[in-house]
């Protein structure tokens, strides 16, 4: 049951019905779309744009008037150019490596079926949420002289930073590309093969172009994450590999040189905007009608032996190559995680679960037990996820429209890019911006800065782009004929939206919930600068435990990290199951 669908609903579909003459939009429709655009814009404006503008503005206003001399000064420092160069180098290399490794990974984990696939998918997502301080321990204790991988002499090198960035972002590529590849109808590639193309040529000319929008999307996400990585860079490489992000952190938190920080924030914004434009172009140039199928038809079991009756040169060797690459990557990803588990089970000279039993105590270093902190984390994550889902869902719905007018299309593309920005702007700028702007916002008698409400909101701002990137591809792939058929049969616009868009979009909700939940559980960026009330979350507790001497608190910190990892993997796996159950036979 495969249906040809298109990602460009405004393109005439060959052989399809003629364009339905659309009635003038009713008042209700207009109101609905106005609200759908206004709510996310208001949310982003109040909780992201405004704090950033206030913070950056503070750096450019001296004695009441605009002072842009900071640009000349900051750019005359040779250090600035080195930092910009290092930022671009780190982020681009890490993005390229993530894509090169992630595409075969997407093939193996989403296009092939094998026992334990769900577990492997969940495993590769775990690094995405681990606090940097834990990854620092897990990674560096492998790389340090005398450690298991000490012979590589990678500790404190550029290569160590890049591998850690890949460690964090591999899952982003695998999931984004895998989500599309899983549904890609194999018959186009098969047709090319039947016409005499080699497997490589068929992949290059048929499959790869079809995947390009997803790859561009994943690459831009990865680039944003890498360009704003902060802890990873400092912990694994140190200041000699400082980036724009680490420099903003130093100028703001250590020197309070807001002028330099503001200039660097603008530099960061320019880099990020440039990347979003390039990625957007790559995406739209390749975006076209795609034949999608249900995973049931496209996913084949993984076999090591060539299936009987298949001729040589059928790409089986390439598939095995992808399996080998992916297996190697999974082992490399698992190494630091296994290292973490092993160390958490080490009690003095023996093995035991003592550190896990002490999670029920405060360990003498905490105000709450680790389990209470876990509950706090879950509560915050529920709020953040609900918020991100509502806002991100509306954004995806709006952005999935293809207005007929050029101006409208541009506006939609702009909105799409706008909601990616929270991933590309420094957490320090946002966090300090909150402190500056959330006291009596808009004259309301509310001090939001010290309110617990701000924590899930700050996390939702970061989770919204992930929700959009997950839901959007599905909405864009909806066959416009479904909507038209619904309209022809007499459904009002609201009913079409409800029965077509929302019903189909709901299938990706599981994945989006998993992503948003995971992002919230691990978020330690802007949140760490909020005046959080004393209700610590799991990453905060881990941070406190690992900041004290003593083998016991160290062991407890590692055990708590394992809990965070298992919790995340569990939630991601549950959401995958939800999705798998939801997609069966839909198309």
């Amino acid at each position: 049951m495969t249906t040809a669908t298109t990602t460009r609903p405004d393109l005439p579909v060959t052989g399809g019905p003629g364009r339905v003459v659309r009635p003038r939009p009713s008042g209700g429709t207009v109101v609905f779309w106005a609200v759908a655009v206004a709510v996310p814009l208001l949310f982003l404006g109040v909780f992201f744009a405004w704090p950033v503008v206030v913070m950056v503005g503070k750096g450019f206003v001296a004695d009441g008037h605009l002072d842009l001399s900071g640009f000349a000064e900051v750019f005359s420092r040779p250090r600035t150019w080195r930092i910009v160069g290092l930022t671009l180098a780190q982020a681009s290399i890490a993005t390229v490596v993530s894509v090169l490794l992630g595409v075969p990974g997407a093939y193996v984990l989403y296009r092939r079926r094998f026992r334990g696939r769900g577990a492997v998918r969940a495993l590769v997502t775990v690094p995405f949420v681990l606090p940097t301080v834990v990854v620092g321990v897990a990674f560096r204790s492998l790389l340090v002289d005398g450690g298991p991988l000490g012979f590589l002499h990678l500790d404190g090198t550029f290569a160590a930073i890049v591998s850690a960035l890949v460690f964090f972002n591999y899952a982003v590529v695998v999931r984004a590309v895998g989500g599309l590849w899983e549904r890609l109808d194999p018959r186009a590639a098969q047709a090319a093969r039947a016409l005499g193309a080699s497997p490589w040529r068929a992949f290059r000319t048929v499959t790869l172009p079809a995947l390009t929008p997803a790859i561009a999307s994943a690459a831009s996400l990865t680039f944003l994450f890498c360009a704003t990585a902060f802890g990873t860079v400092l912990v694994l490489g140190g200041l000699q590999f400082g980036t724009v992000e680490t420099e903003i952190w130093i100028q703001t938190t250590q020197f309070l040189d807001l002028r330099a920080a503001a200039v660097l924030s603008v530099v960061q914004l320019v880099i990020v905007a440039g990347v979003l434009v390039v990625a957007g172009r790559a995406r739209s140039r390749q975006e076209r009608a795609l034949a999608l199928g249900a995973p049931a038809q496209t996913v084949r079991p993984l076999t090591f032996r060539r299936p009987a009756g298949r001729p040589r040169g059928d790409g089986h060797a390439a598939a095995l190559g992808a399996v080998a690459v992916t297996a190697a990557v999974v082992v490399l990803l698992a190494l630091p995680l296994v290292n973490l588990v092993v160390r958490s089970l080490r009690v003095g000279d023996r093995w035991g679960v003592d550190h896990y039993t002490s999670l029920g105590t405060t360990g003498g270093a905490l105000t709450v037990t680790v389990w209470q902190a876990t509950l706090n984390s879950l509560r915050v994550a529920v709020d953040a996820t609900v918020l991100a889902l509502v806002v991100g869902g509306l954004v995806a719905l709006v952005v999935s429209r293809r207005p007929r007018r050029v101006a409208g299309r541009r506006a939609v593309a702009g909105l799409d890019a706008l909601f990616m920005l929270p991933l590309g702007v420094s957490a320090v700028t946002v966090g300090f911006g909150f402190l500056l702007s959330m006291h009596r916002p808009f004259g309301l008698d509310v001090d939001l800065r010290t309110s617990p409400v701000l924590v899930p909101i700050a996390q939702a701002v970061v989770a919204v782009p992930l929700v959009v990137r997950t839901v959007l591809p599905v909405l864009r792939a909806i066959d416009p004929r479904l909507r038209e058929a619904a309209a022809t049969l007499g459904a009002g616009p609201g009913r079409v939206l409800r029965t077509v868009d929302l019903t189909i979009a709901a299938r990706s909700v599981g994945l989006a919930v998993g992503f948003a939940f995971a992002a919230s559980l691990g978020e330690f960026g802007a949140t760490s600068f909020l005046a959080r009330p004393d209700r610590p979350t799991l990453p905060v507790v881990i941070f406190r435990l690992i900041g004290r001497p003593g083998a016991d608190t160290y062991g407890m910190a590692l055990a708590a990290s394992v809990v965070l990892a298992v919790l995340t993997a569990g939630i991601v796996a549950a959401c995958e199951r939800l999705r798998a159950a939801g997609t069966g036979g839909e198309w």
């Binding site: 560096r140 340090v144 309070l256 040189d257 003095g348 009330p533 608190t553 939800l578």
Partner: protein, 370 residues
């Protein structure tokens, strides 16, 4: 219109989606939500510290007192303490400076001597002289003569060594800063980064105190030539690079605190396996001060007095890992035995630190990081 996309596979999926939505709603409603739960904690989103019944303490991430201590304060004064923690110790003062027109609370606690002058110069805190007896003990650490900051606790940042490693290798342990540049200790030292870590900055200040404003750069050049390793923070240095920090790293000399050794007494053992070199220390002092523009300045003063009471002072070593300022407070037994403070720590005046911090750190980065 359901008929257009109706399909046999749809109903169970839809049921599942509904179930999920219902579960999510139930979770949110049943209080599995921070926003939902905030009301029950008596958290006032409006007028954070407006009523006389609440006093808001602004402090760093490492703050924490044993259970029940802040409740005792409430019993004594009728005031409820709300704690807000906007970041780590290094960023606290800058956050206070940025928010001074609309302070985050009433009392600031956790401003250390490397940032103390900035807090006073920027007018973040206002003078208050506590009548608590411990306030006298802290007078020797007074910053300037404004009386705006009161010393509450202190600690010594010192070089620590792993006794076991040195015994196994038959090498005599270093005792002074100069020893660390000797060839026999090549590739053995790890310190946290002075720019990104507050103990790292404290060690830089120790060398400024020891070798003078013009001599410390040479010392660091020698350290670097002798195989110095710079880790990002204390956690990375102590937990990953140090041989006795839990991570079984490769380096037996680390920058840590005078109070670290008691935590290395092995299970069943009686003595710590590490020690602090007391001739290499810099003293960190943590201050509290009433915030300018506090909504509840009297409450803030009462809370500051309470921080100086022996009830809190006795609790500080165990819960915050610093030494009490009060001379009448009791130290935990293992601290009394294994964690003496330095008798002559290196010092640099707070206003000198504020003036030179940026230049010194730039110099340090140039010399050490390159």
């Amino acid at each position: 219109m359901a008929s257009t996309i109706s399909h046999p596979g749809r109903s169970p999926r839809r049921a599942r989606t509904l179930m999920t939505a219902a579960a999510a709603a139930a979770l949110a409603l049943s209080g599995c939500s921070a926003i939902g739960a905030s009301g029950s904690d008596g958290d006032a989103t409006s007028s954070a510290s407006g009523s006389s019944g609440t006093v808001t303490l602004v402090t760093h991430d490492s703050f924490g007192l044993s259970d029940g201590i802040l409740d005792d304060f409430t019993k004594q004064t009728g005031l409820t303490v709300k704690v807000v923690q906007p970041g780590d110790a290094g960023t606290l003062v800058n956050q206070l400076v940025l928010t001074k027109d609309a302070p985050l609370g009433d009392l600031a606690y956790g401003i250390d001597n490397s940032f103390a002058s900035r807090a006073i110069d920027e007018g973040v805190v206002v003078p208050y002289t506590s009548t608590a007896p411990a306030a006298k003990d802290g007078e020797q650490y007074a910053v300037g003569d404004s009386g705006a900051l009161t010393a509450v606790d202190m600690g010594d940042v010192c070089i620590n060594t792993d006794h076991t490693w040195f015994q196994q290798h038959g090498l005599a342990e270093p005792t002074s800063l100069d020893d660390l540049t000797k060839p026999e200790y090549k590739d053995l030292l790890v310190v946290p980064n002075a720019v990104t870590s507050s103990p790292g900055l404290a060690f830089l200040l120790a060398t400024v105190g020891a070798f003078g404003e013009d001599g410390w750069q040479d010392y660091w050049t020698k350290l670097k030539a002798n195989g110095l390793k710079v880790a990002d923070g204390w956690t990375e240095a102590y937990m990953t690079d140090f041989t006795a920090g839990g991570g079984n790293g490769p380096r037996p000399i680390v920058l840590s605190y005078a109070s670290s050794p008691p935590y290395t007494v092995p299970d069943g053992g009686t003595e710590p396996t590490t020690g602090a070199l007391l001739d290499t220390c810099f003293r960190q002092v943590e201050y509290a001060g009433v915030l300018a523009g506090a909504k509840n300045p009297t409450g803030a003063q009462k809370l500051l007095d309470f921080l100086l009471s022996d009830e809190v002072q006795d609790d500080i070593p165990g819960s915050m890992y610093m030494y009490p300022i009060s001379s009448t407070a009791t130290l935990p037994d293992d601290w009394a035995q294994w964690a003496p403070l330095a008798t002559k720590p290196f010092t640099v005046a707070p206003d000198e630190i504020t003036q030179n911090r940026e230049a010194w750190l730039a110099d340090w980065s140039e010399t050490v990081i390159g």
